[in-house]
Amino acid sequence: MKLKEKILTKSLWVYHLSAGSCNNCDIEILDCFTPRFDIERFGIQLVGSIRHADVLLITGAMNKKSAKILKALYEQAPRPLFVAAVGICPCSQNLFKGNYPMLSALDEIVPVDVYIPGCPPRPEAIIAGIAKLINKVTEKNKK
């Protein structure tokens, strides 16, 4: 069904998990909702509860404690769910790689749909990442 994916991508509700980030990426995510970028015009909203979410957005390098929380959140979310990794930390663990509280890479814990690298990524980059996610969801369906 093409229509279903189209509707899903027109109203993405985002749940934001900060898995031990330095707060820069979190600030950049909030920037996307400010007048200059305003991604509510694409139907994107931040929601408070994971039960309402369509996108699980992860910032920060994943350590042992937050990996448990991430797993729990991923299991609690209603499907279909997309996972987005914002910032270089969840993408490649950056300079925290090999550090003692770190686990393996993010995509060994949960499957990731879109990576948005940057330290922190600019709001334009985040919007481009969302566009990539939407393209991916609708393209996959065409085949």
């Binding site: 509707i7 305003d38 279909p80």
Partner: protein, 309 residues
């Protein structure tokens, strides 16, 4: 027979009120966005949101009492639909029955009540906090709204029939053109804010604070039922205010619709102005605001209405 069914289900019943409510909610979102110098969502956004919720999975929490958890969105939606049928049929088709104001008052309690019950049955601690706040808020705003209803009833010569109230307004003048009527409209706009959990009184569903509070455990279609009932209340509560206090004499059917939509847009505008210039009230402040400021104002309104002002 089919005509009556169509009037109840499609126009001016359930489907019509859902469409208008969704557009009203969109207008509110758009106005909020414009107040913040944003562009805001496109006009079809609420329809897409609701449709999307029906495409998603529903999750039942492990510890929840399932019966209550699943039943409460459906019951609150059906009560809202009944309210919409009664009010819209009265406004657009002049259909009424004895005591329908009291029926509507009872039915309007049900969505809030079942939101609380659903939250309590989900066993989530944040939902419990939200439910407790909603109970306190309900005790505050229902008092105020009852004073508004008493004002309307007194002004219509002690009739509890909606068509009597609207008919007298058409014969004489709208209730709002008097001191007591103006007070009642003011109070009932605050009532609508509190009932719909819009910003100064949204402590029960505070998104940043207790993560959507009462609806925290709901997902998929069950959340969609809540969403639809909220959109329908967005239509029916302003309609209730309009038919109680601001019914203006009109010649043709077209004029009647035009006047309704203009006043509806005006009410939504006032609500969104109140939303955008106020922060969230703490629950204690909200209850104090309703009990010690608005309730005495309502009593004053009743006295003024008895004096014929």
């Amino acid at each position: 027979m089919i005509k009556i069914f169509a009037q109840y289900l499609i126009f001016p019943g359930i489907v019509f009120s859902f469409l208008i409510g969704a557009m009203g909610f969109w207008l509110e979102r758009k106005l909020t966005a414009r107040f913040q110098y944003r562009i805001g969502p496109p006009w079809y956004q609420n329809f897409i949101d609701v449709t999307k919720l029906f495409l998603k999975e529903t999750i039942l929490p492990k510890d929840a009492s399932r019966m209550m958890f699943m039943l409460s969105p459906i019951v609150s939606l059906s009560a809202t639909a009944l309210v919409c049928i009664i009010l819209a049929n009265n406004y657009f088709l002049n259909r009424s029955f004895l005591g329908d104001i009291i029926v509507v008052l009872y039915l309007l309690l049900i969505p809030s009540l079942f939101t609380i019950l659903g939250a309590l049955s989900s066993k989530n601690p944040l939902a419990l906090v939200g439910a407790a706040r909603e109970i306190k808020l309900m005790l505050a705003y229902e008092f105020v709204f009852i004073t508004c209803l008493i004002i309307a009833i007194v002004k219509s010569g002690n009739s509890v029939m909606l068509s009597d109230i609207t008919g007298l307004q058409i014969l004489n003048k709208p209730n709002i053109i008097s001191f007591s009527g103006a007070i009642a409209v003011l109070l009932s706009i605050f009532y609508v804010q509190a009932k719909l959990c819009i910003v100064p009184f949204d402590a029960a569903e505070a998104e940043q604070e207790i993560m959507a509070g009462t609806v925290i455990e709901y997902s998929g279609p069950l959340l969609g039922f809540y969403k639809i009932s909220k959109l329908m209340l967005y239509f029916s509560l302003p309609l209730f205010i309009i038919s109680l206090f601001i019914k203006i004499r009109t010649q043709t059917t077209f004029e009647r619709y035009l006047v309704f939509f203009l006043i509806y847009i005006l009410i939504i505008f006032v609500m969104s102005v109140i939303k955008n210039i106020n922060p969230r009230m703490r629950i204690k402040d909200a209850v104090q605001f309703f009990w010690f400021l608005l309730f005495p104002l309502g009593i004053l309104g009743i006295i003024l209405a008895q004096l014929g002002l």
